[in-house]
Amino acid sequence: MKELINKLSKDFNITDAVYQRPSLTFVTVPKGVAISLVTDLRDYEGYSHFVMMSCVDWIEEGKFQLLYLLHNPETKTDIGVKTFIDRENAEMASAHHLWKQVWTYQRELKEAFGIDFPGSPRVDEDFVVEGWVEMPHMRRDFDTKEYSENTYFPRPGRETNDPATYMRKKLYPNEPITAKKQDNDK
């Protein structure tokens, strides 16, 4: 695996390589290089099986991490090509011409994260949700619990007690306690 990465880094600007398992490596490349690296891996290195495409929302850094995971059926190894794109107006070059199923992934990512893939077929169609008007649902800042509570109204009538607070109320309501707990009570 290491030889391959060394070989690739001559041609491609590989900024980071993580050897997760002997058979699985993640490499990071700049946004512009990703598609050409994926093409190169497919055409010349035998990584012909497209396993999956995924996205991770690193909201703290304002980045989306895109992953193209490729498998080499000959050497039985996997390589994950990672690239970071801006969260604002996220856009990535489409890879639908490389494998037939890629457009499905891109369509899903468009809906779930709001990443645009110009030129990818049916990329604007609804995929799993219908008539969605909120922010893309897989983004980290979308609070699914809050949305669910405001939209689908859980059955009322439930209340719970924290054992420590309840015991204090019952057993020693007037004793001095830690400042933090007093804040919590308010």
């Binding site: 993640f26 396993v51 995971l69 039985k76 994950g80 037939k100 169609e125 649902h137 979308f142 699914t144």
Partner: protein, 398 residues
């Protein structure tokens, strides 16, 4: 204009077409074509999905898969749950073979936290047993189910009964019929109950009998042969192009099996050879799965013979309530009854995963591949093709 605005129609100038050429210039107002929907509440559909079909007479000229009827947002929900809370949620990602999900989420967390070497031997064998039993119950539904789609309902009656016997064994072992919630990070949740192996052996003998009967019933049946032969042919060239895996790939002669290629658990200690066929049509795929049925029964026997009698079932781990996993990412795969089934798992050092992404074989089979295979097929064969690709909608939309 509004079509373009709402995105129902892609800009044809800009992009090359992927769907079949014929599909793009379908003018419904010409009255030569008709549009019909198959699903979501069609009894022939595997699970809850729909296919929008443009037909000319009986022939499909264009197809579009619509999914999302079973969308629950698992990947979002798991991001809100502790690592140990992941398995009850993940198992529901695919109801046909639930154990695969448990195994994946457990293995991902173990690999990232460094406990993968610490999983006890006994737990590994029990994991294998439960995975193979899950494959067996899936096949018992799937193989005769293929006949069912071609109006051969009798096999289904037999198969579902035998599957129920396997579910009874699951109930004994794991405490539940369908959602077993048995494989947890660090191990499994119980040893074999007393007398399990004997009862299992009884069931396997029934299944042996069934395997022979179903061969006579389906594969020697002229109606089934006539309908399944030459239907929806997948060629070896298509395998990499579409990302085809599992029995669908093996059905056209491309021998890919994660259990052999990248052995996990103790599969390297078992003696088996993934079955293949060369035709690549519905008949060949079903035939491969029938052979796999024999093989799975054999594997379960091998596992039960080789597994130790006693042992630890779980490795000691940190308190699950505060378990944190350092930042990292991994991809773990296994061979499910439908093919390569994998999970991409990202952690960020907190007590909850950052991202969990499931890669199910149906994701590629039921959308990109199915839409192309359906073109030219008879309307009556549509769900036969769907079943032969082992479509499982919940794993597409999660």
């Amino acid at each position: 204009m509004i079509n373009k605005f709402l995105g129902f129609e892609p800009d044809k100038e800009k992009l090359p077409s992927l769907t079949a050429k014929i599909g793009d210039d379908i003018d419904l107002s010409s009255h030569k074509y008709q549009k019909i929907w198959l699903g979501p509440n069609h009894p022939g559909v595997t699970g809850n999905m729909s296919v929008e079909l443009w037909v000319q007479g009986n022939t499909v000229v264009k197809a579009k898969t619509h999914v999302g009827y079973l969308h629950r947002g698992f990947e979002k929900l798991i991001e809100r749950r502790l690592f140990v809370q992941g398995f009850p949620t993940s198992i529901r990602m695919c109801v046909a073979e639930p154990d695969t999900n448990e195994y994946l989420i457990a293995t991902c967390t173990e690999q990232l936290s460094g406990y993968d070497k610490a999983v006890p031997e006994m737990a590994k064998w029990l994991r294998m047993l439960s995975l193979e039993m899950a494959r067996l119950q899936g096949l018992l539904r799937g193989v005769p189910g293929q006949g069912g789609t071609f109006a051969l309902g009798l096999g289904v009656q037999w198969g579902v009964y035998l599957r129920d016997l396997i579910l009874d064994r699951f109930e004994e072992l794991t405490g539940a019929r369908v959602y077993h919630m048995y494989i947890i990070p660090g191990g499994v949740r119980g040893l074999l109950p007393d007398g399990f192996k004997e009862r299992m052996e009884d069931n396997l003998r029934d299944i042996d009998d069934f395997i022979i009967r179903i061969r006579r019933l389906m594969f020697h049946n002229s109606v089934f042969k006539k309908r399944a032969k030459g239907l929806a042919i997948v060629t070896p060239e298509m395998v990499d192009k579409y990302g085809i895996v599992g029995t669908t790939a093996r059905g056209c002669g491309v021998k890919r099996d994660v259990r052999k290629d990248d052995p996990y658990l103790h599969y390297e200690q078992l003696d088996f050879d993934p079955p293949t066929d060369t035709d690549g049509d519905v008949y060949a795929r079903t035939w491969v799965r029938w052979q796999e049925l024999i093989q799975t029964v054999d594997l379960i026997r091998q596992i039960m013979a080789k597994m130790p009698d006693k042992g630890d079932i779980k490795t000691p781990m940190p308190n699950v309530l505060h378990w944190k996993i350092p930042k990292g990412e991994t991809y773990v795969r296994l061979e499910s009854g439908r093919g390569e089934y994998g999970m991409y798992y990202v952690t960020d050092g907190s007590d909850k995963p950052r991202r969990v992404n499931l890669r199910g074989p149906s994701y590629t089979h039921a959308i990109a591949l199915l839409e192309d295979l359906l073109v030219g097929a008879d309307v009556a064969d549509v769900h036969g093709i769907m079943v032969s690709l082992q479509t499982c909608p919940p794993e597409i939309e999660r």
